[in-house]
């Protein structure tokens, strides 16, 4: 299949795709910026380990999963928005007319599917990849800055449990 790099070809015909693209981009950037809440939390928790520049004895760093909590909500909201966008894209073909009849008569079998699902699916994949990369980066920062004696054991297991359970 030939790939068309014109973004318009991946939105329903006649949809205000520039406006939608801007909103998606804004959502993506805003979610990424919102995730900085996690390193800010790590920094605050790190500061709490010290008193007048000296490490407080027996004090432990908060678990990473607690510090990361809420930081990735923006990505979750963006994924939810993309699911709703896919539904809206399909419903668009019933708004004001039944343009679905034209789309279903096209010789290009997957044209309607492409225009309804491509952008939401791509954004969901990109969001998941970005969220994963940022999570791993923040986790690396967390492990790197936390003094060994302040690091509670089982952080990775707790993180995985938090993601998948």
């Amino acid at each position: 299949m030939k790939i068309n790099w014109n973004l318009e070809a991946y939105f329903p015909v006649g949809m205000p795709w520039q406006q939608d693209s801007k909103l998606i981009l804004f959502g993506y950037v805003a979610s990424s910026v919102w995730s900085l809440y996690c390193p800010v939390q790590i920094y605050q928790s790190y500061q709490d380990l010290f008193d007048s520049g000296k490490l407080i004895p027996e004090v432990m760093m908060a678990d990473f999963i607690q510090l990361a909590d809420n930081a990735f909500l923006g990505f979750g909201a963006l994924i939810l928005a993309m699911i709703l966008l896919a539904i809206a894209n399909y419903r668009y073909h019933f708004k004001g007319s039944k343009s679905v009849y034209l789309m279903r008569r096209l010789p290009q079998k997957y044209e309607m599917l492409k225009r309804c699902l491509s952008v939401p699916a791509a954004v969901i994949l990109l969001t998941l990849a970005t969220a994963f990369l940022l999570l791993m980066t923040y986790y690396w920062i967390y492990c790197a800055v936390t003094p060994k004696q302040c690091l509670a054991p089982g952080q990775w297991q707790k993180l995985m449990g938090g993601i998948f359970l």
Partner: protein, 248 residues
């Protein structure tokens, strides 16, 4: 040739089409008639593959799929265009997706009906939208043009123009399946009449045969449906009797 074999369609427990058998050879203008809910629209949507059904619909022996669907076009009173696009944008979209799009015919018809090329379709009147819907169906470059009540909302002069334009522009290989209630208007324009009644084919006749028999289309339809002309007068006289008898 479109061949419909043993086509049945149910909506839940309601039988919409019942074992339909029909062939549509190339070059015919076929009128599809029937009462409201008879199954005309359902039949057209089944031909186009929009509805799941039992039985087979083939185009020159092959099932209708995305490989040959471009040989069929569809004009519907529900409209299948994009309201936020202009006719010009539609033309470009069709040119991109239908290699046999007839640009010359499209331009000529747009000019004939004096439709603006650069105004959004949602700003058109219903009559203009109907005209545009039919223009797109005629310009797609399809061999089989299915039309479902395409002129509802258009005035009589407008419809008259359309019939003339249709007859003047169609090529001998183009086939039209026209579903309409406007029997008298289309009787001189169609070559064949298919009558559908409660989901079954009630009659299928060539207009030339009817003419040979000295029948007009309306008489043929009334005969087929066993239309009782005295029905109205009976009801009116019953009502009149009731009023005279003091029943309120």
């Amino acid at each position: 040739m479109i061949e419909i074999r043993d086509l049945s369609k149910n909506y839940g427990t309601k039988e919409a089409l019942n074992h339909i058998n029909l062939t549509l050879p190339q070059g015919e203008i076929v009128g599809l008639f029937g009462e409201n809910g008879a199954g005309k629209t359902t039949l057209q949507k089944c031909i186009l593959g929009f509805l799941r059904h039992k039985g087979a619909v083939t185009l020159d022996g092959a099932p209708i799929t995305y490989r040959n669907i471009a040989r069929l076009s569809f004009a519907t009173c529900e409209h299948s265009f994009f309201p936020s696009l202009t006719p010009k944008a539609h033309m470009e979209f069709y040119q991109m997706h239908f290699p046999s799009f007839r640009t010359k015919r499209f331009t000529a018809l747009m000019e004939f009906f004096e439709l603006p090329m650069t105004r959004q379709l949602r700003k058109f009147s219903v009559g203009q939208q109907n005209q545009f819907e039919v223009i797109m169906a005629l310009s797609q470059g399809a061999d089989y043009i299915l039309m479902d009540e395409p002129f509802s909302g258009n005035d009589v002069f407008n419809r008259e123009d359309f019939y003339k334009v249709l007859l003047g522009t169609l090529e001998p290989t183009e086939t039209i399946l026209l579903s309409t209630h406007l029997l008298e208007e289309v009787q001189h324009f169609i070559s064949r009449a298919v009558l559908i009644h409660q989901g079954s084919i009630a009659a299928d006749a060539l207009v030339s045969d009817l003419e040979d028999q000295g029948k007009d289309l309306m008489t043929f339809v009334k005969e087929t449906y066993h239309y009782r002309g005295d029905r109205v007068s009976k009801v009116l006289s019953t009502l009149a009797e009731d009023e005279e008898g003091g029943i309120k």
